[in-house]
């Protein structure tokens, strides 16, 4: 029995609604903003009100990605969807080839 089949229709419907709203936020507010630094954010999944995001382009491996995620994206999502439990970044940041900001010693 798959995980999906044991979840109630109500839970799946709630996740679908969150998914649609987040995709709209990504399309209309988040991605137009991060595009300024060559970045892109994709919605991987929403499950049990947990949101899984993937960062690409200038965001992947960027030294400021936590600021972008926690101060920016998360704040915007929570303002619209306070019922979201957690927002998780599933990006492989080590593989980022063109991060907008890289850490240095000074």
């Amino acid at each position: 029995m798959s995980d999906e089949s044991v979840r109630s229709d109500g839970e799946q419907g709630e996740d679908s609604r969150i998914r649609a709203k987040i995709q709209d936020l990504l399309d209309t507010a988040i991605n137009p903003a991060v595009a300024g630094h060559g970045g892109v954010v994709s919605l991987v999944d929403v499950k049990d009100k947990m949101v899984y995001l993937q960062m690409g382009g200038g965001c992947q491996g960027c030294g400021m990605v936590d600021v972008t995620l926690k101060q920016g994206i998360e704040t915007m999502i929570r303002e619209e969807l306070p019922e979201v439990v957690e927002i998780l970044d599933v990006t492989d940041h080590a593989a980022g080839q063109n991060p907008y900001s890289a850490a240095s010693k000074k």
Partner: protein, 420 residues
């Protein structure tokens, strides 16, 4: 909910650690960086862009900002922001170290002058200008010596010279490093050079927290790799120290005197000292915590991070414990294997499998230019270990490093150079 102004340069290694600590403490954060964030317009209450090089202008901006959004503390996360944090705190009437104290801790010449004036042992030193002829300066220099910039951190631009020819080469090389736009932003300090006597011996680093002028030792790290030059690439830090307890007591006492001499009273300090049969020399005491990702080695009380301690103190919250966990811990700042363009890092799974290794974090990205010291400004990554003894920690770090293979392509031609 308390509100914190966090000064986060876009190039800092400390972003995740400080934001994570703030979240754990339930603190609202306003992030101030030297460049506008992409969400600054959408979230004006959560971002500020400040000119880090002009503190007075930054202070005016912050004073205007707090008129509608009060701030409870200002914390600078690393070297580049310690003085600004003091200036902003002063402007807002928030408790903080004096501006002159943080400025002195940031400037190696001022620091040595204040320390020597208070009888704290420092290497013999002299201030020189790049306008002086290095050939002439070499005649009046005792060797071996170390040529240093006044403000860069983590051994950037630090070069040992054993004779006149090496001295001239070192000064000219440092001058080229300080001509880069990032370093030149330090103004007059980037036109000057500190020449100090080379102090042989072992080097240690003390991580401490000042509370109302009292130094609380958070960790004393040994640096088991010799730092004899010509460049001073820091690699392994291990705590607890294996030095004799009498030497450790002296190190703590000397660091406390150094902090007092600079007038530092609260907040983190990171001191580096040389130890040999003649005694101690304070190489540096900075009004900040340990750099890079090294703070990940430290856990206090029931698992508090160093950043949590710093934020708790800044916000006037209770600090449940300053006692570090009992186990030995260590970190290796992975040395740059050679100049070139990073293609990949192999052997990470094998390195993580070494007993005692907690984590291997590669921070350099594929395609990044790897630049060795003294010009280099970043680490390829970090290895973290935890074990029953400092010896085992050190052995684990060395074995994990041995298992890593950095595939590095030839350096780019200067016309192809890209930013990090």
């Amino acid at each position: 909910m308390p509100r914190l102004l966090l000064l986060l340069p876009t190039t800092t290694y400390r972003t995740a650690a400080f934001l994570g600590a703030a979240r754990k403490l339930g603190v609202e954060v306003v992030v101030a960086s030297e460049r506008a964030h992409v969400f600054q317009q959408a979230q004006p209450g959560r971002f500020l862009s400040l000119d880090f090089l002009h503190p007075d202008q930054a202070a005016r901006q912050v004073v205007e900002f707090v008129a509608t959004r009060p701030i409870d503390a200002v914390v600078g996360v690393d070297d580049a922001t310690t003085v600004l944090a003091a200036v902003l705190s002063n402007a807002l009437g928030l408790p903080h170290n004096a501006v002159r104290s943080t400025a002195a801790a940031r400037d190696k010449y001022q620091m040595r002058t204040l320390l020597r004036g208070d009888g704290v042992p420092v290497p013999p030193y002299a201030l020189r200008s790049f306008d002086d002829d290095p050939v002439v300066e070499a005649w009046r220099t005792a060797f071996p010596c170390v040529v240093k910039p006044l403000m860069l951190s983590a051994s950037r631009g630090v070069i040992r010279a054993d004779d006149e020819a090496q001295f001239v080469g070192a000064v000219r090389r440092l001058e080229r490093i300080l001509r880069t736009p990032e370093a030149a932003a330090d103004g007059e300090a980037a036109r000057q050079v500190l020449v100090e006597g080379f102090i042989p011996g072992r080097e240690v680093a003390l991580e401490g927290l000042l509370v109302k002028g009292d130094l609380h030792v958070l960790a004393l790290f040994d640096k088991p790799d010799p730092l004899d030059g010509p460049f001073f690439e820091e690699t392994i830090y291990v705590t607890p120290s294996r030095l004799a307890s009498t030497a450790q007591v002296e190190i703590v006492s000397c660091t406390a005197r150094a902090a007092q001499a600079l007038g530092l009273r609260d907040g983190p300090v990171h001191a580096e000292l040389r130890v040999n049969r003649h005694g101690l020399s304070v190489i540096e005491i900075a009004a900040r915590s340990i750099g890079g990702l090294c703070s990940r080695t430290l856990r206090f009380g029931t698992g508090l991070s160093l950043e949590e301690l710093i934020l708790r103190q800044a916000l006037g919250m209770e600090i449940p414990s300053l006692e570090r966990e009992r186990r030995a811990v260590g970190v290796m700042m992975i040395p740059i294997p050679r100049a070139g363009v990073l293609k990949e890092v192999r052997g990470q799974t094998e390195a993580r499998a070494v007993p005692g290794i907690d984590e291997v974090t590669i921070t350099a990205h594929p395609g990044q230019d790897l630049v060795p010291l003294p010009e280099g400004a970043s680490y390829p990554g970090f290895i973290f270990a935890r074990a029953e003894s400092p010896e085992r920690v050190e052995a684990a770090l060395r074995e994990a490093h041995r298992r890593l293979e950095f595939v590095v392509m030839a350096p780019r031609k200067s016309s192809e150079a890209v930013s990090p």
